[in-house]
Symmetry: C2
Subunit: 277 residues, 2 copies
Protein backbone atom coordinates (compact mmCIF):
# COMPACT_ATOMS: atom_id res chain seq x y z
CA UNK A 1 0.00 0.00 0.00
CA UNK A 2 1.39 3.35 -1.04
CA UNK A 3 0.82 6.49 1.00
CA UNK A 4 0.87 9.76 -0.93
CA UNK A 5 0.74 13.23 0.58
CA UNK A 6 1.04 15.65 -2.35
CA UNK A 7 -1.18 16.34 -5.36
CA UNK A 8 1.82 16.11 -7.72
CA UNK A 9 2.87 12.69 -6.36
CA UNK A 10 -0.70 11.37 -6.56
CA UNK A 11 -1.05 12.56 -10.17
CA UNK A 12 2.31 11.00 -11.05
CA UNK A 13 1.38 7.68 -9.46
CA UNK A 14 -2.03 7.77 -11.14
CA UNK A 15 -0.35 7.53 -14.55
CA UNK A 16 1.23 4.22 -13.63
CA UNK A 17 -1.64 2.24 -12.07
CA UNK A 18 -3.91 -0.34 -13.66
CA UNK A 19 -7.41 0.79 -14.63
CA UNK A 20 -10.23 0.93 -13.77
CA UNK A 21 -9.54 2.93 -10.61
CA UNK A 22 -12.07 2.83 -7.76
CA UNK A 23 -11.99 5.70 -5.28
CA UNK A 24 -13.33 6.01 -1.72
CA UNK A 25 -13.08 9.57 -0.36
CA UNK A 26 -13.14 9.69 3.47
CA UNK A 27 -12.42 12.03 6.38
CA UNK A 28 -10.65 9.18 8.19
CA UNK A 29 -11.49 7.71 11.62
CA UNK A 30 -12.76 4.78 9.61
CA UNK A 31 -15.50 2.35 10.60
CA UNK A 32 -17.00 -0.72 8.94
CA UNK A 33 -19.12 1.51 6.70
CA UNK A 34 -15.96 2.86 5.06
CA UNK A 35 -14.41 -0.61 4.84
CA UNK A 36 -17.55 -1.92 3.13
CA UNK A 37 -17.02 0.80 0.47
CA UNK A 38 -13.40 -0.29 0.06
CA UNK A 39 -14.46 -3.95 -0.21
CA UNK A 40 -16.96 -3.06 -2.91
CA UNK A 41 -14.37 -0.97 -4.77
CA UNK A 42 -11.91 -3.87 -4.49
CA UNK A 43 -14.31 -6.25 -6.28
CA UNK A 44 -14.98 -3.81 -9.15
CA UNK A 45 -11.61 -2.19 -9.93
CA UNK A 46 -8.00 -3.02 -10.72
CA UNK A 47 -6.76 -0.28 -8.39
CA UNK A 48 -8.35 1.07 -5.19
CA UNK A 49 -7.50 4.57 -3.95
CA UNK A 50 -8.77 5.90 -0.59
CA UNK A 51 -8.36 9.51 0.51
CA UNK A 52 -8.18 10.60 4.13
CA UNK A 53 -8.77 14.34 4.39
CA UNK A 54 -10.72 16.19 7.07
CA UNK A 55 -11.87 18.92 4.73
CA UNK A 56 -11.88 22.26 6.57
CA UNK A 57 -14.11 24.02 4.02
CA UNK A 58 -17.15 21.84 4.72
CA UNK A 59 -17.21 22.73 8.42
CA UNK A 60 -18.90 25.91 9.61
CA UNK A 61 -17.00 28.29 11.92
CA UNK A 62 -18.84 26.91 14.98
CA UNK A 63 -18.66 23.27 13.92
CA UNK A 64 -16.40 20.40 15.01
CA UNK A 65 -13.49 20.68 12.52
CA UNK A 66 -10.83 20.90 15.23
CA UNK A 67 -12.25 18.18 17.43
CA UNK A 68 -13.31 15.89 14.56
CA UNK A 69 -11.79 12.50 15.55
CA UNK A 70 -8.54 11.51 13.85
CA UNK A 71 -6.48 8.31 14.06
CA UNK A 72 -4.44 7.91 10.86
CA UNK A 73 -2.35 4.97 12.11
CA UNK A 74 -5.44 2.90 12.87
CA UNK A 75 -6.99 4.01 9.53
CA UNK A 76 -3.92 2.88 7.59
CA UNK A 77 -3.90 -0.52 9.30
CA UNK A 78 -7.56 -1.03 8.42
CA UNK A 79 -7.04 0.10 4.81
CA UNK A 80 -4.02 -2.14 4.29
CA UNK A 81 -5.98 -5.12 5.60
CA UNK A 82 -8.84 -4.28 3.21
CA UNK A 83 -6.51 -4.40 0.21
CA UNK A 84 -6.22 -0.69 -0.55
CA UNK A 85 -3.55 0.12 -3.15
CA UNK A 86 -3.05 3.85 -2.55
CA UNK A 87 -3.95 6.18 0.33
CA UNK A 88 -3.98 9.88 -0.52
CA UNK A 89 -3.70 11.95 2.66
CA UNK A 90 -2.84 15.57 1.87
CA UNK A 91 -2.39 18.39 4.37
CA UNK A 92 -4.98 21.21 4.26
CA UNK A 93 -2.41 23.60 2.71
CA UNK A 94 -1.82 21.10 -0.09
CA UNK A 95 -5.51 21.18 -1.02
CA UNK A 96 -6.10 24.88 -0.29
CA UNK A 97 -2.87 26.81 -0.94
CA UNK A 98 -2.58 30.54 -0.24
CA UNK A 99 -4.97 32.63 -2.37
CA UNK A 100 -7.18 29.62 -3.11
CA UNK A 101 -10.21 31.12 -4.89
CA UNK A 102 -12.39 28.54 -6.73
CA UNK A 103 -15.63 26.96 -5.47
CA UNK A 104 -18.22 24.59 -6.84
CA UNK A 105 -21.72 25.75 -5.92
CA UNK A 106 -24.98 23.90 -6.39
CA UNK A 107 -28.02 26.12 -6.09
CA UNK A 108 -31.36 24.43 -5.50
CA UNK A 109 -30.36 21.07 -4.09
CA UNK A 110 -28.15 22.61 -1.39
CA UNK A 111 -30.66 25.13 -0.05
CA UNK A 112 -32.53 22.64 2.16
CA UNK A 113 -31.99 20.04 4.91
CA UNK A 114 -28.25 19.76 5.64
CA UNK A 115 -27.57 22.79 3.45
CA UNK A 116 -30.05 24.92 5.43
CA UNK A 117 -28.68 23.67 8.78
CA UNK A 118 -25.05 24.01 7.70
CA UNK A 119 -24.57 27.04 5.39
CA UNK A 120 -21.55 26.57 3.11
CA UNK A 121 -21.28 22.86 3.95
CA UNK A 122 -22.07 21.61 0.46
CA UNK A 123 -19.88 24.25 -1.20
CA UNK A 124 -17.01 22.65 0.73
CA UNK A 125 -18.14 19.09 -0.05
CA UNK A 126 -18.65 19.70 -3.78
CA UNK A 127 -15.38 21.61 -4.11
CA UNK A 128 -13.23 19.04 -2.34
CA UNK A 129 -14.84 16.14 -4.23
CA UNK A 130 -14.34 17.96 -7.53
CA UNK A 131 -10.65 18.45 -6.67
CA UNK A 132 -10.22 14.85 -5.48
CA UNK A 133 -11.88 13.50 -8.64
CA UNK A 134 -9.47 15.55 -10.76
CA UNK A 135 -6.47 14.41 -8.72
CA UNK A 136 -7.35 10.70 -8.47
CA UNK A 137 -9.18 10.44 -11.83
CA UNK A 138 -11.22 7.39 -10.82
CA UNK A 139 -13.57 5.47 -13.08
CA UNK A 140 -15.83 4.95 -10.03
CA UNK A 141 -16.26 6.79 -6.72
CA UNK A 142 -18.08 5.17 -3.81
CA UNK A 143 -20.34 7.03 -1.39
CA UNK A 144 -22.37 5.75 1.56
CA UNK A 145 -26.12 6.33 1.45
CA UNK A 146 -26.07 7.57 5.05
CA UNK A 147 -25.26 11.04 3.76
CA UNK A 148 -28.30 11.10 1.51
CA UNK A 149 -28.11 14.72 0.43
CA UNK A 150 -24.32 14.62 -0.03
CA UNK A 151 -24.74 11.63 -2.35
CA UNK A 152 -27.29 13.53 -4.44
CA UNK A 153 -25.17 16.70 -4.51
CA UNK A 154 -22.18 14.72 -5.78
CA UNK A 155 -24.28 12.87 -8.37
CA UNK A 156 -25.72 16.19 -9.57
CA UNK A 157 -22.29 17.84 -9.76
CA UNK A 158 -20.79 14.94 -11.72
CA UNK A 159 -23.73 14.98 -14.12
CA UNK A 160 -23.95 18.78 -14.53
CA UNK A 161 -20.20 19.28 -14.99
CA UNK A 162 -19.92 16.25 -17.33
CA UNK A 163 -17.23 14.68 -15.14
CA UNK A 164 -15.82 11.36 -16.27
CA UNK A 165 -16.67 8.93 -13.51
CA UNK A 166 -19.54 6.90 -12.12
CA UNK A 167 -20.83 7.68 -8.61
CA UNK A 168 -21.66 4.40 -6.88
CA UNK A 169 -24.00 4.56 -3.85
CA UNK A 170 -23.64 1.95 -1.11
CA UNK A 171 -26.16 1.03 1.63
CA UNK A 172 -25.75 2.49 5.10
CA UNK A 173 -23.96 0.17 7.52
CA UNK A 174 -25.60 -0.10 10.94
CA UNK A 175 -24.71 -1.23 14.44
CA UNK A 176 -26.65 -4.26 15.71
CA UNK A 177 -29.33 -2.02 17.29
CA UNK A 178 -29.77 -0.10 14.01
CA UNK A 179 -27.74 3.07 14.69
CA UNK A 180 -26.09 4.20 11.43
CA UNK A 181 -22.30 3.91 11.63
CA UNK A 182 -20.64 7.32 11.81
CA UNK A 183 -17.30 8.66 12.99
CA UNK A 184 -19.28 11.13 15.09
CA UNK A 185 -20.86 8.30 17.15
CA UNK A 186 -17.64 8.43 19.17
CA UNK A 187 -18.88 11.73 20.67
CA UNK A 188 -21.78 9.92 22.42
CA UNK A 189 -21.56 8.85 26.06
CA UNK A 190 -23.20 5.48 26.93
CA UNK A 191 -26.56 7.05 27.81
CA UNK A 192 -26.61 9.15 24.63
CA UNK A 193 -25.47 6.15 22.60
CA UNK A 194 -28.55 4.26 23.80
CA UNK A 195 -30.84 7.22 23.07
CA UNK A 196 -29.35 7.61 19.56
CA UNK A 197 -31.16 4.52 18.32
CA UNK A 198 -34.32 6.65 18.25
CA UNK A 199 -33.38 7.86 14.72
CA UNK A 200 -33.46 4.35 13.36
CA UNK A 201 -36.65 3.53 15.26
CA UNK A 202 -38.35 6.57 13.67
CA UNK A 203 -37.18 5.54 10.19
CA UNK A 204 -38.37 1.98 10.79
CA UNK A 205 -41.75 3.37 11.85
CA UNK A 206 -41.97 5.33 8.58
CA UNK A 207 -41.16 2.16 6.62
CA UNK A 208 -43.83 0.23 8.52
CA UNK A 209 -46.50 2.91 8.00
CA UNK A 210 -45.59 3.13 4.30
CA UNK A 211 -45.80 -0.67 3.97
CA UNK A 212 -49.26 -0.49 5.56
CA UNK A 213 -50.33 1.98 2.86
CA UNK A 214 -49.74 5.39 4.42
CA UNK A 215 -48.93 7.92 1.64
CA UNK A 216 -49.57 11.21 3.46
CA UNK A 217 -46.11 12.72 4.01
CA UNK A 218 -47.33 14.96 6.85
CA UNK A 219 -48.67 11.95 8.74
CA UNK A 220 -45.32 10.18 8.31
CA UNK A 221 -43.48 13.27 9.56
CA UNK A 222 -45.77 13.75 12.58
CA UNK A 223 -45.63 10.08 13.66
CA UNK A 224 -41.80 10.18 13.50
CA UNK A 225 -41.77 13.51 15.36
CA UNK A 226 -43.95 12.09 18.14
CA UNK A 227 -41.71 9.06 18.52
CA UNK A 228 -38.49 11.09 18.72
CA UNK A 229 -39.98 13.69 21.06
CA UNK A 230 -40.54 10.93 23.63
CA UNK A 231 -36.76 10.58 23.91
CA UNK A 232 -35.62 13.28 26.38
CA UNK A 233 -31.99 13.36 25.13
CA UNK A 234 -33.02 13.90 21.50
CA UNK A 235 -33.86 17.21 19.82
CA UNK A 236 -35.13 17.22 16.22
CA UNK A 237 -33.41 19.57 13.78
CA UNK A 238 -35.43 18.48 10.76
CA UNK A 239 -37.51 15.56 9.54
CA UNK A 240 -37.97 15.37 5.80
CA UNK A 241 -40.01 13.28 3.38
CA UNK A 242 -38.70 14.34 -0.02
CA UNK A 243 -38.45 13.37 -3.66
CA UNK A 244 -35.55 10.96 -3.92
CA UNK A 245 -33.77 12.84 -6.75
CA UNK A 246 -34.53 16.54 -6.24
CA UNK A 247 -35.07 16.42 -2.44
CA UNK A 248 -38.16 18.60 -2.89
CA UNK A 249 -40.47 18.09 0.11
CA UNK A 250 -43.50 15.95 -0.71
CA UNK A 251 -47.17 16.17 0.27
CA UNK A 252 -47.77 12.60 -0.79
CA UNK A 253 -45.37 9.70 -1.38
CA UNK A 254 -46.33 8.65 -4.90
CA UNK A 255 -42.95 7.52 -6.23
CA UNK A 256 -39.57 7.03 -4.59
CA UNK A 257 -39.04 9.18 -1.50
CA UNK A 258 -36.16 9.66 0.89
CA UNK A 259 -37.07 10.02 4.55
CA UNK A 260 -34.23 11.82 6.28
CA UNK A 261 -33.59 13.53 9.58
CA UNK A 262 -31.10 15.41 11.66
CA UNK A 263 -31.43 14.88 15.41
CA UNK A 264 -29.19 16.30 18.10
CA UNK A 265 -28.50 13.76 20.85
CA UNK A 266 -26.78 15.37 23.82
CA UNK A 267 -24.65 17.79 21.83
CA UNK A 268 -23.96 15.50 18.86
CA UNK A 269 -25.69 16.07 15.57
CA UNK A 270 -26.70 12.75 13.96
CA UNK A 271 -28.25 12.17 10.55
CA UNK A 272 -29.88 9.12 9.01
CA UNK A 273 -32.31 8.20 6.24
CA UNK A 274 -34.19 5.44 4.44
CA UNK A 275 -35.70 5.31 0.97
CA UNK A 276 -39.39 4.46 0.55
CA UNK A 277 -40.86 3.01 -2.62
CA UNK B 1 -13.32 17.03 -40.01
CA UNK B 2 -15.97 15.57 -37.73
CA UNK B 3 -18.83 17.66 -36.40
CA UNK B 4 -20.30 16.54 -33.08
CA UNK B 5 -23.41 17.97 -31.42
CA UNK B 6 -23.92 15.91 -28.27
CA UNK B 7 -21.87 15.45 -25.11
CA UNK B 8 -22.19 11.66 -25.35
CA UNK B 9 -20.94 11.58 -28.96
CA UNK B 10 -18.01 13.87 -28.13
CA UNK B 11 -17.01 11.71 -25.16
CA UNK B 12 -17.27 8.58 -27.30
CA UNK B 13 -15.16 10.08 -30.07
CA UNK B 14 -12.61 11.35 -27.52
CA UNK B 15 -11.80 7.75 -26.57
CA UNK B 16 -10.68 6.99 -30.13
CA UNK B 17 -8.48 9.97 -31.05
CA UNK B 18 -4.69 10.27 -30.93
CA UNK B 19 -3.21 12.18 -28.00
CA UNK B 20 -2.20 14.80 -27.10
CA UNK B 21 -5.45 16.68 -27.75
CA UNK B 22 -5.35 20.45 -28.22
CA UNK B 23 -8.59 22.36 -27.62
CA UNK B 24 -9.73 25.81 -28.74
CA UNK B 25 -13.02 26.87 -27.11
CA UNK B 26 -14.83 29.58 -29.11
CA UNK B 27 -18.20 31.29 -29.41
CA UNK B 28 -17.94 31.07 -33.21
CA UNK B 29 -18.04 33.95 -35.73
CA UNK B 30 -14.36 33.20 -36.09
CA UNK B 31 -11.63 35.64 -37.07
CA UNK B 32 -7.88 35.31 -37.62
CA UNK B 33 -7.31 35.44 -33.86
CA UNK B 34 -9.20 32.17 -33.47
CA UNK B 35 -7.45 30.61 -36.46
CA UNK B 36 -4.06 31.55 -34.99
CA UNK B 37 -5.05 29.54 -31.89
CA UNK B 38 -6.02 26.58 -34.08
CA UNK B 39 -2.73 26.85 -36.00
CA UNK B 40 -0.77 26.83 -32.75
CA UNK B 41 -2.80 23.85 -31.45
CA UNK B 42 -2.16 22.07 -34.75
CA UNK B 43 1.63 22.33 -34.32
CA UNK B 44 1.58 20.99 -30.74
CA UNK B 45 -1.02 18.20 -30.73
CA UNK B 46 -1.98 15.01 -32.54
CA UNK B 47 -5.67 15.98 -32.48
CA UNK B 48 -7.26 19.44 -32.57
CA UNK B 49 -10.77 19.99 -31.19
CA UNK B 50 -12.59 23.34 -31.54
CA UNK B 51 -15.88 24.11 -29.81
CA UNK B 52 -18.41 26.59 -31.12
CA UNK B 53 -20.89 27.50 -28.39
CA UNK B 54 -22.40 30.89 -27.69
CA UNK B 55 -22.67 30.31 -23.95
CA UNK B 56 -25.89 31.87 -22.64
CA UNK B 57 -24.79 31.82 -18.98
CA UNK B 58 -21.93 34.29 -19.50
CA UNK B 59 -24.23 37.01 -20.89
CA UNK B 60 -26.13 39.31 -18.57
CA UNK B 61 -29.91 39.75 -19.04
CA UNK B 62 -29.35 43.09 -20.84
CA UNK B 63 -26.37 41.92 -22.88
CA UNK B 64 -26.03 40.82 -26.48
CA UNK B 65 -26.62 37.04 -26.28
CA UNK B 66 -29.43 37.07 -28.83
CA UNK B 67 -27.75 39.39 -31.29
CA UNK B 68 -24.25 37.94 -30.82
CA UNK B 69 -23.09 37.28 -34.40
CA UNK B 70 -23.34 33.69 -35.68
CA UNK B 71 -22.24 32.12 -38.97
CA UNK B 72 -21.58 28.40 -38.42
CA UNK B 73 -21.17 27.56 -42.12
CA UNK B 74 -18.39 30.10 -42.54
CA UNK B 75 -16.83 28.97 -39.23
CA UNK B 76 -16.78 25.34 -40.37
CA UNK B 77 -15.15 26.24 -43.68
CA UNK B 78 -12.43 28.20 -41.87
CA UNK B 79 -11.85 25.40 -39.34
CA UNK B 80 -11.63 22.71 -42.01
CA UNK B 81 -9.08 24.77 -43.91
CA UNK B 82 -7.04 25.21 -40.69
CA UNK B 83 -6.82 21.44 -40.21
CA UNK B 84 -9.27 21.02 -37.31
CA UNK B 85 -10.06 17.36 -36.55
CA UNK B 86 -13.26 17.73 -34.51
CA UNK B 87 -15.77 20.57 -34.07
CA UNK B 88 -18.00 20.30 -31.00
CA UNK B 89 -21.08 22.47 -31.43
CA UNK B 90 -23.76 21.62 -28.86
CA UNK B 91 -27.17 23.28 -28.48
CA UNK B 92 -27.74 25.26 -25.27
CA UNK B 93 -30.10 22.53 -23.93
CA UNK B 94 -27.33 19.98 -24.40
CA UNK B 95 -25.00 21.95 -22.14
CA UNK B 96 -27.66 23.18 -19.69
CA UNK B 97 -30.44 20.60 -19.47
CA UNK B 98 -33.59 21.18 -17.39
CA UNK B 99 -32.84 21.58 -13.66
CA UNK B 100 -29.17 22.38 -14.33
CA UNK B 101 -27.81 23.42 -10.92
CA UNK B 102 -23.97 23.48 -10.70
CA UNK B 103 -21.71 26.53 -11.01
CA UNK B 104 -18.01 27.24 -10.73
CA UNK B 105 -17.40 30.46 -8.82
CA UNK B 106 -14.13 32.30 -8.36
CA UNK B 107 -14.24 34.87 -5.57
CA UNK B 108 -11.52 37.52 -5.53
CA UNK B 109 -10.30 37.50 -9.11
CA UNK B 110 -13.81 37.94 -10.54
CA UNK B 111 -14.91 40.88 -8.36
CA UNK B 112 -13.13 43.54 -10.46
CA UNK B 113 -12.84 44.86 -14.05
CA UNK B 114 -14.97 42.69 -16.38
CA UNK B 115 -16.47 40.91 -13.35
CA UNK B 116 -17.60 44.22 -11.83
CA UNK B 117 -18.97 45.48 -15.16
CA UNK B 118 -20.65 42.17 -16.01
CA UNK B 119 -21.99 40.47 -12.84
CA UNK B 120 -22.22 36.70 -13.29
CA UNK B 121 -20.10 36.79 -16.47
CA UNK B 122 -17.19 34.81 -15.05
CA UNK B 123 -19.48 32.31 -13.31
CA UNK B 124 -20.74 31.49 -16.79
CA UNK B 125 -17.26 31.45 -18.33
CA UNK B 126 -15.70 29.27 -15.61
CA UNK B 127 -18.65 26.87 -15.60
CA UNK B 128 -18.76 26.36 -19.35
CA UNK B 129 -14.98 25.95 -19.61
CA UNK B 130 -15.03 23.45 -16.74
CA UNK B 131 -17.72 21.47 -18.57
CA UNK B 132 -15.95 21.70 -21.93
CA UNK B 133 -12.65 20.56 -20.38
CA UNK B 134 -14.41 17.52 -18.88
CA UNK B 135 -16.13 16.71 -22.18
CA UNK B 136 -13.13 17.22 -24.50
CA UNK B 137 -10.43 16.17 -21.99
CA UNK B 138 -7.64 18.06 -23.74
CA UNK B 139 -3.99 18.03 -22.75
CA UNK B 140 -3.83 21.71 -23.76
CA UNK B 141 -6.44 24.47 -24.11
CA UNK B 142 -5.66 27.66 -26.00
CA UNK B 143 -6.89 31.12 -25.00
CA UNK B 144 -6.23 34.50 -26.58
CA UNK B 145 -4.60 37.14 -24.40
CA UNK B 146 -7.16 39.72 -25.54
CA UNK B 147 -9.49 38.53 -22.78
CA UNK B 148 -6.87 39.13 -20.10
CA UNK B 149 -9.07 38.54 -17.08
CA UNK B 150 -10.79 35.51 -18.63
CA UNK B 151 -7.37 33.95 -19.23
CA UNK B 152 -6.39 34.46 -15.59
CA UNK B 153 -9.76 33.17 -14.32
CA UNK B 154 -9.35 29.98 -16.37
CA UNK B 155 -5.73 29.52 -15.27
CA UNK B 156 -6.79 29.99 -11.63
CA UNK B 157 -9.70 27.54 -11.94
CA UNK B 158 -7.53 24.87 -13.58
CA UNK B 159 -4.89 25.29 -10.89
CA UNK B 160 -7.29 25.48 -7.91
CA UNK B 161 -9.43 22.52 -9.02
CA UNK B 162 -6.35 20.45 -9.98
CA UNK B 163 -7.65 19.94 -13.52
CA UNK B 164 -5.53 17.87 -15.86
CA UNK B 165 -4.61 20.21 -18.70
CA UNK B 166 -2.27 23.07 -19.55
CA UNK B 167 -3.78 26.48 -20.35
CA UNK B 168 -1.79 28.01 -23.21
CA UNK B 169 -2.06 31.80 -23.69
CA UNK B 170 -1.65 33.24 -27.18
CA UNK B 171 -0.91 36.87 -28.17
CA UNK B 172 -3.76 39.10 -29.26
CA UNK B 173 -4.17 39.34 -33.04
CA UNK B 174 -4.69 42.87 -34.35
CA UNK B 175 -5.97 44.57 -37.47
CA UNK B 176 -3.36 46.59 -39.40
CA UNK B 177 -4.24 49.78 -37.48
CA UNK B 178 -3.87 47.96 -34.13
CA UNK B 179 -7.52 47.26 -33.21
CA UNK B 180 -7.70 43.92 -31.41
CA UNK B 181 -9.60 41.33 -33.44
CA UNK B 182 -13.00 40.55 -31.93
CA UNK B 183 -16.26 39.10 -33.17
CA UNK B 184 -17.94 42.18 -31.69
CA UNK B 185 -16.03 44.51 -34.07
CA UNK B 186 -18.76 43.61 -36.56
CA UNK B 187 -21.14 45.82 -34.54
CA UNK B 188 -19.11 48.97 -35.44
CA UNK B 189 -20.15 51.27 -38.29
CA UNK B 190 -17.28 52.76 -40.36
CA UNK B 191 -17.00 55.89 -38.22
CA UNK B 192 -17.02 53.88 -34.99
CA UNK B 193 -14.55 51.42 -36.46
CA UNK B 194 -12.14 54.30 -37.02
CA UNK B 195 -12.68 55.66 -33.51
CA UNK B 196 -12.14 52.18 -31.99
CA UNK B 197 -8.40 52.33 -32.64
CA UNK B 198 -8.21 54.70 -29.67
CA UNK B 199 -7.94 51.69 -27.31
CA UNK B 200 -4.76 50.51 -28.98
CA UNK B 201 -3.38 54.04 -29.13
CA UNK B 202 -3.88 54.40 -25.37
CA UNK B 203 -2.19 51.04 -24.70
CA UNK B 204 0.71 52.02 -26.95
CA UNK B 205 1.03 55.29 -25.03
CA UNK B 206 1.27 53.31 -21.75
CA UNK B 207 3.97 51.12 -23.28
CA UNK B 208 5.90 54.18 -24.44
CA UNK B 209 5.67 55.93 -21.04
CA UNK B 210 6.72 52.72 -19.28
CA UNK B 211 9.69 52.34 -21.66
CA UNK B 212 10.66 55.93 -20.82
CA UNK B 213 10.73 54.99 -17.12
CA UNK B 214 7.25 55.93 -15.87
CA UNK B 215 6.30 53.63 -12.97
CA UNK B 216 3.45 55.62 -11.36
CA UNK B 217 0.28 53.68 -12.18
CA UNK B 218 -1.97 56.71 -11.63
CA UNK B 219 0.01 58.74 -14.17
CA UNK B 220 -0.31 55.91 -16.69
CA UNK B 221 -4.07 55.73 -16.06
CA UNK B 222 -4.56 59.48 -16.34
CA UNK B 223 -2.53 59.84 -19.54
CA UNK B 224 -4.56 57.01 -21.15
CA UNK B 225 -7.80 58.54 -19.87
CA UNK B 226 -6.92 61.93 -21.37
CA UNK B 227 -6.12 60.36 -24.72
CA UNK B 228 -9.36 58.36 -24.91
CA UNK B 229 -11.49 61.27 -23.70
CA UNK B 230 -10.43 63.23 -26.78
CA UNK B 231 -12.32 60.70 -28.92
CA UNK B 232 -15.99 61.84 -28.92
CA UNK B 233 -17.38 58.39 -29.85
CA UNK B 234 -15.55 56.64 -26.99
CA UNK B 235 -16.68 56.34 -23.37
CA UNK B 236 -14.37 54.73 -20.81
CA UNK B 237 -15.85 52.01 -18.60
CA UNK B 238 -12.60 51.24 -16.79
CA UNK B 239 -8.86 51.63 -17.20
CA UNK B 240 -6.75 49.34 -15.06
CA UNK B 241 -3.06 48.94 -14.26
CA UNK B 242 -2.95 45.73 -12.25
CA UNK B 243 -0.72 42.92 -11.03
CA UNK B 244 -0.43 40.49 -13.89
CA UNK B 245 -1.42 37.41 -11.84
CA UNK B 246 -3.89 38.60 -9.18
CA UNK B 247 -5.25 41.62 -11.11
CA UNK B 248 -4.95 43.70 -7.93
CA UNK B 249 -4.74 47.39 -8.89
CA UNK B 250 -1.23 48.79 -8.54
CA UNK B 251 0.11 52.10 -7.26
CA UNK B 252 3.46 51.50 -8.89
CA UNK B 253 4.51 49.15 -11.69
CA UNK B 254 7.40 47.30 -10.04
CA UNK B 255 7.02 43.87 -11.64
CA UNK B 256 4.82 42.55 -14.43
CA UNK B 257 1.59 44.51 -14.88
CA UNK B 258 -1.39 44.16 -17.16
CA UNK B 259 -2.84 47.40 -18.53
CA UNK B 260 -6.43 46.72 -19.52
CA UNK B 261 -9.51 48.70 -20.43
CA UNK B 262 -13.13 48.55 -21.40
CA UNK B 263 -14.29 51.35 -23.69
CA UNK B 264 -17.73 51.74 -25.21
CA UNK B 265 -17.55 52.95 -28.81
CA UNK B 266 -20.97 53.94 -30.10
CA UNK B 267 -22.90 51.24 -28.29
CA UNK B 268 -20.28 48.50 -28.59
CA UNK B 269 -18.26 47.47 -25.58
CA UNK B 270 -14.62 46.79 -26.54
CA UNK B 271 -11.81 45.47 -24.35
CA UNK B 272 -8.07 45.32 -24.89
CA UNK B 273 -4.85 45.03 -22.89
CA UNK B 274 -1.06 44.89 -22.99
CA UNK B 275 1.42 43.54 -20.47
CA UNK B 276 4.19 45.81 -19.14
CA UNK B 277 7.50 44.54 -17.73
Amino acid sequence: MKIVETVAAMKQLRKQVAEPVGFVPTMGYLHQGHIALVDRARTENATVVVSIFVNPTQFGPKEDFKKYPRDPQRDLTMLEKAGTDIVFMPAPEEMYPTAYDTWVDLDNITQRLEGASRPGHFRGVATVCNKLFNIVQPQRAYFGEKDAQQLRVIQKMVSDLNMNLAVVPFPTMRETDGLAMSSRNTYLNPEQRQAAVVLYRALTLAQKLFAEGERDANKLRSRMTDLINKEPLARIEYISVADSVTLDELDRVETKAVVSMSVIVGSTRLIDNVVLG
